[in-house]
């Protein structure tokens, strides 16, 4: 599996640390009710198919990246910096044009959607 870092380009999965569902980027306010914290920390949509999760480019540029990928095929569908998410409340509802298109940097083009 190779992941396209928005800053560094396509890199081996081993350079990245997986944190979890992108819900982790939407931390509730400190005074939120326990149910909100339960929602944030524990409950997951856990889709078989397209999902968004957070990866940290630990052995690269140290950026936090929101990766859209398919949990059944392991295809990477898109990436963007967590700092470029629309807002804390956009709740990862996919919208057209939501993802920044990442052009492969290498001269060898990467086949899209076939990575494992």
């Amino acid at each position: 599996m190779r992941i396209t870092c928005p800053l560094c380009g396509t890199r081996d999965r081993r350079e990245f640390y997986y944190y979890g569902d992108a819900v982790y980027a939407d931390r509730p306010d400190a005074g939120a009710v326990p149910e909100a914290w339960n929602d944030y920390l524990h409950l997951r949509d856990n889709p078989a198919g397209e999902t968004r999760d957070l990866w940290y480019h630990e052995m690269g540029c140290s950026s936090w990246i929101e990766v859209t990928r398919n949990t059944v095929t392991h295809a990477i569908l898109g990436t963007r910096l967590v700092s470029e998410r629309n807002s804390r409340r956009d709740k990862f509802v996919y919208q057209e044009g939501d993802l920044r298109e990442i052009k492969p940097q290498a001269t060898k083009p990467e086949p899209k959607g076939t990575e494992e």
């Binding site: 599996m1 999965r13 081993r14 997986y18 944190y19 979890g20 569902d21 326990p34 149910e35 339960n38 920390l41 524990h42 409950l43 997951r44 949509d45 856990n46 889709p47 078989a48 999902t51 999760d53 949990t71 059944v72 095929t73 392991h74 494992e116």
Partner: protein, 416 residues
Amino acid sequence: MRYSGFKVIAEGLGGNKGWKPAWRDPDPKPEYDIIIIGGGGHGLSTAYYLAKNHGLTNIAVLEKGYLGGGNVGRNTTIVRANYFLPGNQEFYSHSLKLWEGLESELNYNVMHSQRGLINLFHSDGQRDAFARRGNAMINQGDDAELLDREGVRRLLPYLDFEQTRFPIYGGLLHRRGGSARHDAVAWGYARGADRRGVDLIQNCEVTGIDIQDGRVTGVQTTRGAIRAKKVGIIVAGRSGQVAAMAGMRLPVESHILQAFVTEGLKPVIDHVVSFGMGHFYISQSDKGGLVFGGDLDFYASYAARGNLPMVEHVMEAGMTLMPMIGKAKVLRSWGGIMDMTPDGSPIIDRTHIDGLFIDCGWNYGGFKAVPASGWCMAHLMATGESHEVARRFRLDRFVTGHLLDEEGTGSQHNLH
């Protein structure tokens, strides 16, 4: 048909023409008292104990593929009761006791082998932690022995005792731990349930759960609608999707765990050995293959196969611990879909919908729990009350804060 050694010999002399199918292949009836979604180890044992302990037999087990085709047929077959936390301890202790009587209970050879399990430790701090765990196991009524380095060397002379990164300080020996034949457990429970009148319905995928006025009334399936008074969801890695049919969102994230087996070798590894620091554990099957595995691939996945970095990591850990296995050829590797919870402990509970129950969140420790999980889920579905050894496996513990974080790694699904 009752199985026995005599029967095997008689059939062998007669050309093995007298064997009959071990269970029926019925069509679904329009209505049952209880429907179990999922014909894996936990679903089949639940159906068995509903019939055996509670006298309920108007039950269907619905399986989307074939019986035992999921995680119960894809695991590394470790059976143990070496848990530390109250809540887990009594449950796994109960499960191990059920294992010890399982073959005569089911009249089925599940090849349960209590060959002993050794958890290695590599520092003073880890020794203290294992001593404490061992004491907790003894207090629970199970067995544990703390071995020093020489004690480990006597049992496992083939380990690399010279390695400096993780020097072997000793190990915690759990003599009643061991392994079993995974498929046979599923088949044994299937046969036992079928003989008591439970309908085991394969190739029947549940596509919807019918709910009226907050009460479950049945399920929609690829073989038509089936009414039921009670429904149990016991689908491991697919829990999220099936629960979503009832409008539920679970504290579960599905992850891949890989496992590996080598070509058959002569007996060389007599125990189950776990090397936690390297994320590696190994045993040898009765067929001779070395069966081993490591940690999760770490990212959410339903692919039922893993990626190469973890393959490499597991092989490296194995070579670090026991270089003698280096020339064994790996025959195959595979992945199972693990229903990981944020505290690493399971859920056996009712839901907010009347008549709908759920048994899930077994992380990667579900195999040893098959007997007790079925026992407790059956108790819950039949009586409406949690069984006393499973009363802490509540669905709402994540809101109330009564977590069972055995490894103390915090609320991150993939760290347990």
